[in-house]
Amino acid sequence: MVLRVLRWSPGSRERLQKYWVRARQGMTVLDALVEVQRGTDPTLAFRYACRVGMCGSCGMVINGRERWACRTLLSRLERGPVTVRPLYHFSLIRDLVVDMEPIKRKMLESKAVFVPRRPAEDDEGFAAVSGRSRERRAVDGAIECIGCGMCVSACTMVAHDPRFPGPAALNRVFTLQRDSRDGAHAERGEALLAEDVLTRCHTQANCTAVCPMQLSPTDSILALRRRALLQLVGFRPR
């Protein structure tokens, strides 16, 4: 089978380079890339770590759609050449490797960071939130984000508005806004009302469609919007 891989390094123009790989049963896109790197072209750069669909570091755009290379079987893709590109909306470092800095920056900008309600010295051990509690169940579908960046790559609004925090950061904000141990709800709530935040999401659900953990950032953003609306009309959302 033919792999068409985007090649780029600083100072050069990007191009799609073809590699021929002998496809075997059970072979993934990551297996094919490793085979190319070990055999044909040791200069090909890509990132991976766990190889078993846990860490999310091998997120790439495969045949036009964000997927993790280690869990994408060649046999499950459409017939014909397989095109592999790096994630969109991130700075390229080289070939398929991107700089994940926007994930961290957007998290910090949108205050998607836990702020303890009580000072550390008052803490009496861990503050547990029961798995059966309403608070915990409300964020069930949002707490397993592995920061792979695929949702940010799939989101068209991230491409058009650099101030939009994007699905990963807003998903994290949602979990914090529902966390009774967090003390920055009001501050974050104000920031969410800015023009380039919640209203920028157009509910295209691209983020939800590509999330390898089956999370739904779309639902998180919609829930934040409903809370913001309640806040605007004078209610105090739970």
Binding site: P10, N63, L92, T156, T203, Q204, A205, S216, R225, R226
Partner: protein, 107 residues
């Protein structure tokens, strides 16, 4: 300073449209229907008795409106997992509404 190169999907590239999902199509069709409405409403105001223009106004209003209802339902609490079904329902309702209204028209 490092050479910064950020890739974005190119509208003109077929590959960028591969694997486009229902939510994206729903959004796109609603926006395109809005743009289409701007044109056909202008034509309709110029001469309201042209049948094809009447049909276009009716079809585009139904499409745009019902996809808007889909977005409102999602905004007000339907889970995002329902969005594909809502998209299909909106398309079917637009088709049914068009056929019913066009058959019923009294003039």
């Amino acid at each position: 300073m490092r050479d910064r190169r950020v890739l974005k999907r190119r509208l003109g590239s077929a590959e960028a449209w591969r694997g486009t999902k229902a939510g994206m199509w729903a959004w796109l069709i609603q926006r395109l229907a809005a743009l289409g409405l701007l044109a056909v409403i202008a034509l309709h105001l110029h001469n309201p008795f042209v049948r094809p223009v009447q049909a276009a106004v009716l079809g585009l209003v139904l499409l745009h409106g019902l996809l808007g209802v889909r977005a409102i339902l999602l905004d007000f609490g339907l889970p995002a997992r329902a969005h594909r079904a809502l998209f299909l329902l909106a398309l079917l309702a637009a088709l049914a509404g068009f056929v019913a209204f066009w058959r019923w028209r009294w003039y």
